[in-house]
Symmetry: C2
Subunit: 215 residues, 2 copies
DNA sequence: TAGATTGTTAATCGATTAACAATC
DNA sequence: TAGATTGTTAATCGATTAACAATC
């Protein structure tokens, strides 16, 4: 998929994932949607919706709106989730376990193909989906022998191990990391990192709860 | 805590949680930090750091910088996590279980005081920390009888139940929701909601991995 | 006092929105 | 053709950054 321009902001992509989620929901009841309707669900303006979508192409029909199932396909194509992307989980504590045992959590387009830990007591155990927990030192070998690309890792080790583990992954060819730890990774600019920090989000929530503007 | 102005953007609060995390890390080695050093770790400018902090007050010393432990205390105060905030978990599937059994995940300032589910097979079970899984219909009663405020819920039900469950919580007095489901909640403007969507974040990661600008 | 770094103003940059020509 | 809604331009708004006076 080629885009008109590649100065795309993070916010556009974040909204794109939201559009997708909403469209899949609305699809149960409707076949078409226009930018006004979509903007209302999104709490934004219709101009925002049209601008966002037009970043990637002309998907609407003037006078009518957007075909929902077509738009879903397009967004899935943009996000690269209309095919299977292989991911490995690194760190099989409570978080890693939750992810590996919860088929739904990753959503469409992602498949867990390997689980790694450094704990000798865990290595060798077979967990959900017939995946064996492997030694984290074997990531390189695993990637080389795997039939297909494995570029993405979900980092679910303890905070203290995050930087070291991430560096190892990068050395072994991993290109993208979903960082589930609280640690702010410092990696080369060729590595893509996205962070999920539950405690930080809870702090944000707490701030807004305490500072709700009275209107 | 009173602020100079209350037109505070979401981004400022997000960065505030990052500053806090970094400061706690740097505190192991240093007592003081200046805006330049902090900006380098944050991948931003020193002006950004000073501007962000000055939103809340004058915490630095000209010619020197910021006292780390003082700044940590201040940010914790701003975020309201220097005291214990009670939270309940609603939905005790894989996600709720991960959170309730993982003391570290919520971080400083938060305490799980109740766990709720609608599944009769789960209700009554005692899980980690001597908390009993309660019937989700008993949230109101629980809040009224609890010695202390319970305003915050972590919503960890399945997507299909998210909107209904959230509405019930709001009816029963909950004011802030950390939404761990993929569903975009539609609630009154007096309710504070922050979303964590693992699959959406993975989609973002996948987009950037596939569209890494070649430099 | 001289050197350093803050807090803040003003300039710049980027993102959102209003408005409308294009077109189904 | 008339009505509706897109895609896009230009105007507005807000966030970031450069620059510097204030001051430790």
């Amino acid at each position: 998929m080629k885009f008109k321009k590649l100065e795309i902001s993070e916010k556009v992509i974040q909204r794109l994932t939201e559009y997708l989620s909403i469209l899949k929901d609305v699809q149960k009841y409707e076949n078409e949607i226009n930018s006004i309707e979509l903007s209302k669900i999104m709490n934004t303006t219709s101009a925002q919706v049209r601008k966002d979508l037009s970043t990637f192409g002309d998907f609407g029909v003037r006078g009518k709106g957007y075909d929902i199932s077509k738009l879903i396909e397009i967004i899935e194509d943009i996000l690269g989730i209309n095919k299977v992307n292989n991911v490995i989980i690194v760190g099989h504590g409570k978080m890693g376990e939750m992810i590996s045992s919860n088929r739904n959590v990753l959503g469409k387009g992602f498949q867990i193909v390997g689980i790694f830990d450094k704990d000798k007591n865990k290595i060798g155990k077979v967990v959900s989906d017939n995946l064996e927990i492997r030694d984290v030192n074997g990531v390189k070998e695993f990637r080389e022998n795997f039939c297909g690309e494995v570029d993405t890792a979900i980092l679910a080790v303890v905070k203290e191990q995050a930087q070291f583990a991430a560096e190892q992954l990068v050395k072994n060819g991993i290109k993208a990391i979903l960082n589930m730890t609280t640690y702010k990774l410092e990696l080369g600019s060729d590595i893509t990192v996205v962070n999920i920090d539950i405690s930080a989000k809870l702090q944000e929530l707490n701030f807004w709860r305490l500072n709700k503007e009275e209107k």
